[in-house]
């Protein structure tokens, strides 16, 4: 019931407080005729289906975990194709009937091909690139150079010693080892923003990442781990190994996507952990889930600047402004200084012949009457304040020294 309540509440919030879609999502779903709301609803339907199937097969606690867990909620909103890929792999791995396996394989293939731009983008600095012999050689040489420089260029460690200690093979092993350990990063899982704000400890960028688990889910996971039988280990060992390899292959900051294979493992362990608890503690966990889901939902829908860059929001607001004020201008010049504005305006259905998308510097332009300019604050340098008709506030300076948010000037 609580899982159902949470998923219904999410639908209400999606309908009443829609969030702008990312450039990636617009790029993938736009050509297929999906609108912003279609994408969000698609994600919601997928999550609801997963919860329903899990409820039938694994029971209420598993369903609640999947309704409340931040990671799956984030995937269902911002990484829908990756979620589809995950479901297909589960089908491929777990189904007994051949036709289901074939169907899952086809869906998996399609979801990866359609989403290839995202996979390619996040694989720019992958493990293979990192283990390139030339790069490893450069790093080992750099370390030896620093050691030499630190002695004031007076002493170099013996050659045999340097060969044993600083070599490409050892560095490659160390790189794989540290990346593997780095998958298990509680800060990244439960407090990426808080840890970053305080010490920069998570080593991750401040935005574009979200919490994946509530902090008490981690002890529950560990507790659940204790009740995993040997047979279960054997059954799922390849899944776990494959998921870890996938996570290691990509850069750590993309863990929300690259670590996706670990989500079902984590959800299973959390559920096992909860089931092992006494009834009193289970009630406590239930209360915790409700409170945490309220806080998480609040952050997700009402405080999106705390975890997302403001570009998605600004595209949405620029499109809204153009739509609502289309009778007020003959010509509109919209900046593409911070991204593919033309594609995003097309996605929102407001791109027409009156609109030109390009960078501008109003101090260097001759403005015509009936023209509006929409751009970053610095692009309006030298413009009389009374010409600025709207200022759309946002949190981030998307282009260095160009100011926060977007301004609209009318001539």
């Amino acid at each position: 019931m609580i899982a159902l309540g949470l998923i219904v509440a999410k639908l209400v919030l999606l309908l009443t407080h829609p969030l702008g879609v990312s450039v990636d999502q617009a790029q993938i779903f736009g050509p297929w005729g999906f609108s912003e709301m279609d994408i969000l609803i698609l994600g919601w339907v997928l999550q609801s289906l997963i919860i329903f199937v899990v409820w039938i097969k694994k029971g209420s606690w598993a369903a609640l975990v999947l309704a409340a867990n931040p990671w799956i909620n984030v995937l269902a909103m911002f990484h829908i194709l990756e979620l589809i890929s995950l479901i297909s792999v589960i089908g491929l791995y777990g189904a007994r009937k051949k036709w289901i396996k074939i169907g899952a394989a086809i869906i998996l293939l399609i979801s990866i091909v359609v989403n290839k731009s995202v996979w390619l983008k996040i694989s720019q600095n992958n493990l293979v690139v990192r283990l390139n012999p030339a790069r490893l050689a450069q790093e080992t040489n750099e370390t030896q150079k620093i050691n030499f420089m630190a002695t004031g260029k007076t002493y170099l460690l013996p050659g045999w010693f340097r060969k044993v200690v600083y070599n490409k093979a050892a560095l490659a092993i160390q790189t794989i080892a540290t990346r593997t350990v780095g998958v298990f990063d509680f800060e990244q899982w439960d407090a990426p923003l808080a840890a970053w704000v305080i010490t920069g400890l998570s080593g991750l960028p401040p935005k574009g990442i979200t919490t994946l688990f509530y902090f008490w889910e981690i002890p529950l996971m560990i507790f659940g781990l204790l009740s995993v039988s040997r047979a279960e280990w054997i059954k799922y060992r390849w899944w776990i190994a494959g998921s870890i390899i996938l996570a290691i292959f990509f850069e750590k900051r993309f863990f929300t996507t690259s670590g996706i294979g670990l989500l079902p493992v984590a959800a299973t362990l959390i559920t096992k952990g909860i089931i092992k608890l006494s009834h009193k503690l289970q009630y406590a966990i239930l209360v915790l889930y409700i409170i945490a889901a309220v806080y998480f939902g609040h952050q997700l829908f009402f405080d999106q600047f705390s975890y997302r860059y403001s570009d998605a929001y600004l595209y949405r607001e620029m499109a809204n402004w153009l739509k609502q004020n289309q009778d007020e201008y003959q010509k509109a010049v919209v900046t593409n200084k911070f991204g593919p504005t033309d594609m995003m305006l097309q996605f929102y259905g407001v791109f027409d012949s009156k609109i030109t998308v390009r960078e501008f510097k109003l101090s260097h332009e001759t403005t015509e009457a009936g023209t509006v300019y929409i751009g970053l604050p610095k692009e309006f340098d030298g413009v009389a304040p009374e010409k600025i008709v709207t200022k759309i506030a946002a949190d981030d300076e998307l282009v260095h020294e160009y100011g926060k948010g977007v301004w609209v000037a009318s001539f």
Binding site: N147, M149, A150, V181, F184, D185, A195, T199
Partner: protein, 489 residues
């Protein structure tokens, strides 16, 4: 056999802790300088830098440092001189002693001397244990005393354990929490008799008194999470914050890969432990889960040890919980021993890999840290003091540009300024606003107006003082000019 093997382990530990002790970390930080100078002052005058006679806590930068490190260092700097090596020596010796103690503790906990030996080897070579032994860290002294208390506790000498835990409260602030935990643990395991209750009462009374004396609570007041978080957050977010901080001390990435971000507690690219140790750590957990009734004390140690750190605002700050890191070492030793029994010849590979890791770390400590991370320490004061020292007799006044660091304590330390003289000249108001003494003045420099000052030396950054008038220049380890000395008109 075990104890014989301990000797070479201790020799290795001693080498890793004492070699180039004054060179790496690359300079004293202000806390180390304050500890050293106060020890010097105590030895020569019986008073701290403010003239307080035999204080129970040292006011220093209004952070009221516990007394033990200063008093133990006093004879060393008094007899052998006020140097960086001598200031750090107590910590380094404690680091060596801890290797012997962990042998006893892990051996007793597991009832297996070989496990004690493995723990000793690990503590001798682990990054955190080497690092905190090479600076004048009060926390490292406190760890040694803590291990003595744990050993007494295992030996069922609970009363003595509590007394030692009480002494430890004079070594480091976090130990105050451990005293309460030791007393609580003793009371639970061995219900106290009247005599013991009276003893605990006396210790509690002394403890409360020591908190009061010298504003011992000042440190907690300034770093407490209750002060910073409760005011601005809901109870749920506050509890989440505490929970997340707690988990940070068990986070494999923090422990084995990333380490801390605290500037003077890290070497780029190294964690608190070596990455390969995670395998043994996980096996260690499996061992104590399987034999949980045998390892109750280790469970208690692991679960309770992060408490002093999570009561503070900072995130993953290992220096506050060195006893927890020692517990992790014991855990790794348990796992390593289990593995060692089964691996056969593979142990040679593990040993080889551990040696390569040790070489990486130790060379980074000796070379990389002073060359690349010198900025995390207050580098440059030693060099500047050496540069101005021969000029002091000729000039009446020295203006030292204040940066983020507090140059006065370095000036006192490196010039070995007579404590008797300083105690008369120091500003005693609290909080302190003025750090000037003798002919030294600490303030910003504005050259257009300052240049007319007569008979004055200016010590400042390259941005504040004209290049063409530089009498002497101070270069950083990478060869860039970081400060210059100029004489006024």
């Amino acid at each position: 056999m075990g104890s014989k093997l301990l000797i070479p382990i201790i020799v290795i530990a001693a080498f890793l802790r004492l070699f180039w002790l004054a060179k790496s970390p690359p300079s004293l930080n202000w806390d180390e300088a304050a500890l050293g100078y106060n020890a010097y002052s105590i030895w020569l005058t019986g008073r701290d830098e403010y003239g307080t006679r035999l204080p129970l806590s040292f006011r220093s930068f209004d952070d009221y440092k516990p007394l033990l490190y200063v008093y133990l260092t006093a004879p060393i700097v008094g007899i052998f001189g006020l140097t960086e090596f001598n200031t750090r020596l107590v910590s380094a010796l404690c680091g060596i002693l801890s290797v012997g103690l962990i042998y006893l503790v892990a051996g007793k906990l597991s009832k297996n001397k070989n496990i004690g030996l493995v723990a000793a080897i690990l503590l001798a070579i682990e990054p955190w244990a080497i690092y905190y032994s090479r600076g004048a860290w009060e926390a490292n002294l406190s760890l040694t005393i803590f291990l003595i208390a744990v050993w007494l506790f295992i030996e069922k000498k609970y009363g003595w354990a509590v007394i030692v835990a009480f002494i430890n409260t004079f070594a480091y602030h976090s130990a105050k929490v451990y005293l309460l935990l030791t007393m609580g643990g003793s009371a639970i395991i061995s219900p106290p008799k009247w005599k013991t209750i009276i003893g605990y009462g006396v210790i509690s009374g002394l403890f409360v008194l020591s908190l009061w004396q010298g504003s011992g609570l000042a440190r907690f007041g300034s770093t407490s999470i209750f002060k910073t978080s409760l005011e601005s957050q809901s109870p749920y977010l506050f509890i989440s914050g505490v929970g997340q901080r707690y988990l940070a001390y068990f986070n494999p990435t923090n422990l084995f890969v990333r380490g801390t971000n605290e500037p003077n507690q890290r070497i780029d690219g190294f964690g608190t432990f070596y990455a390969f140790e995670i395998i043994f750590w996980l096996i260690g957990w499996a061992v104590i889960i399987k034999k949980r009734s045998e390892y109750k004390l280790l469970w208690g140690w692991l679960i309770l040890a992060p408490i002093p750190a999570i009561l503070t605002w900072s995130w993953f700050n290992p220096v506050r919980v060195l006893p927890l890191l020692a517990a992790h070492t014991v855990l790794i030793a348990l796992g390593a021993y289990e593995t060692w029994k089964k691996l056969g010849w593979v142990n040679i590979l593990v040993f080889g890999w551990a040696t390569v890791n040790l070489c990486w770390y130790f060379l980074a400590l000796l070379y990389y840290l002073p060359y690349k991370n010198y900025g995390d320490w207050q580098w440059g004061f030693r060099e500047t003091a050496a540069a101005i020292s021969p000029l002091l007799a000729k000039y009446d006044h020295v203006v030292w540009e204040t940066g983020q660091a507090q140059p006065y304590i370095f000036t006192l330390f490196y010039l070995k300024y007579p404590p008797q003289k300083y105690q008369l000249e120091a500003d005693r108001t609290s909080p302190r606003k003025n750090f000037n003494f003798g002919k030294f003045e600490f303030r910003p420099i504005y050259w257009p107006t300052d240049k007319t000052a007569k008979n004055t030396i200016f010590v400042g950054s390259v941005y504040s003082l004209p290049e063409e008038l530089a009498l002497k220049r101070i270069y950083d380890p990478q060869g860039y000019e970081m400060a210059r000395i100029v004489v006024g008109d």
